[in-house]
């Protein structure tokens, strides 16, 4: 979307326009959900965290500076809300892969789909063995495909740190995945 248009919408939202804010929600809801899902691996949790993040964003819109990128600012909120949720739901954080997600229902006799799903489940499992910062970087940069610059802004660290943690995180995941594969019959 054109920058001027985005700024106009944000400005309207800051003035309290619900219509304008709804436009922002519609533009960013999928990525907000995907991000939350990356951390929580559960459809209901991801939905709730994404929605809550939008509500918080609305409430603190006043502190948002129009010249910065709304998406990055929003994902920073999603990231914080998701991590808080994980911290407060210790039982759930030990869960590896949820069956709640609609993807789980799509498993059919199709061998490729099943295999892909299994692979995805292993990746998710390995991901959640990572230290928090590495995991955040892998989710944001590698899985969600945000730019290094965006990730550094979301996490409040340098781009160099993002690169280092990405490399370390992926290396550790590779190691974990090879263990998982060895375990498989």
């Amino acid at each position: 979307m054109p920058v001027a248009d985005a700024q106009h919408v944000i400005q309207k939202a800051q003035e309290g326009s619900h219509d304008a804010f709804r436009i922002l929600v519609e533009r960013h809801m999928k990525q907000a959900y995907n991000l939350a899902y990356g951390f929580l691996l559960d459809h209901d949790d991801a939905e709730d965290v994404a929605q809550e993040s939008f509500v918080r964003a609305y409430q603190s819109l006043g502190s948002f500076r129009v010249e910065s990128e709304f998406g990055t600012w929003l994902y920073r909120i999603v990231h914080n809300v998701a991590l808080n949720r994980l911290r407060h739901e210790k039982t759930k954080s030990s869960r590896h892969v949820s069956l709640d997600h609609p993807l789980a229902d799509s498993a059919s006799g199709d061998g490729n789909v099943a295999e892909g799903k299994e692979q995805q489940m292993h990746v998710e499992r390995a991901l959640h063995e990572l230290p928090t910062l590495q995991r955040s970087v892998v989710i944001l940069r590698h899985l969600e495909g945000l730019s290094t610059r965006q990730v550094s802004q979301i996490l409040g660290c340098t781009e160099g740190t993002v690169k280092t943690h990405l490399h370390r995180g992926l290396k550790k995941m590779k190691k974990l995945l090879s263990f998982i594969h060895k375990d498989m019959p």
């Binding site: 619900h18 804010f21 709804r22 929600v25 519609e26 809801m29 999928k30 990525q31 959900y33 995907n34 899902y37 990356g38 459809h43 991801a46 939905e47 994404a50 929605q51 809550e52 939008f54 509500v55 609305y58 409430q59 997600h101 609609p102 993807l103 799509s106 692979q119 995805q120 990746v123 390995a126 892998v138 590698h142 899985l143 495909g145 730019s147 290094t148 690169k163 990405l166 490399h167 992926l170 290396k171 995941m173 590779k174 995945l177 090879s178």
Partner: protein, 275 residues
Amino acid sequence: MKAQKHVRDLLYDFHRGELSQDDRRKLEEHLAGCKRCAKAAEEIRVLMQTVPVPQTKPSDALSERYWDAFSYNVMNRVRSEENQHSVRKISFAEYLRSVFLYQRRSLAAISVGLTIVAVVVLTRQFGNVDPPGTDQLAEQQGDIQTPTVQARLDQYFRKSQILMVGLMNMKPENGNGVDLSVEQAVSRELIREARFLSQQNIDERTRVLIANLEKILIELANMEKQYDLPDIEILRAGINQENLLFKLRMGEGSYTAEPLTQDSERNLSQKGESL
């Protein structure tokens, strides 16, 4: 060595296909001639193969209808948070207090046609919350100038209106009863003021409205300490039945009192004493 570090920083982006054509070409040229960097590039390629970038997103599994509902639900949450927030921010009782009881100076800013001196008198009067029947009017007749009956009348209607609107909009807190102590204190003050005003030289229409308002105010002032919604509903029914809000709104500024004469002024202070 520094150049090499710079090159290595590009390897991940290179494998994701995110480099500009120019950067990509330069990197490929470098990798062709530098074994160490080529090895690093291969390592990252393998890493990315082991942890593949997903081809689908979790959001892909959800229907468009789901996403329509999603934004709708977010906006509902925004609205309800906003409402809760504003109720929390200023409850009606706090608002009343700010208007009637505490912020005496701001009263001057919003009241129309009152001199500062008159405000001092009024806020003195409304600032003290005493049981009905306590007479303060007489003692105010001394060295402080009394506001005109018209000014007191306007003030009385304005405050009554605020009180009634608040009652109509009041919601129970957490499904429990509501605390009406501030409203009751205000209504006692208004009753006292109504008694004074109804004894003044005012037109019939104004007198009727004051009488109708008084019924509601007395009901409110006499309510038991345990308020619950049914009680408030009775009050609301009374307010509705008499179309009080409509009359207050329509009559803003049009209810009149005759100008005070020396006689009525004396009369006023006598009646004040006899309350």
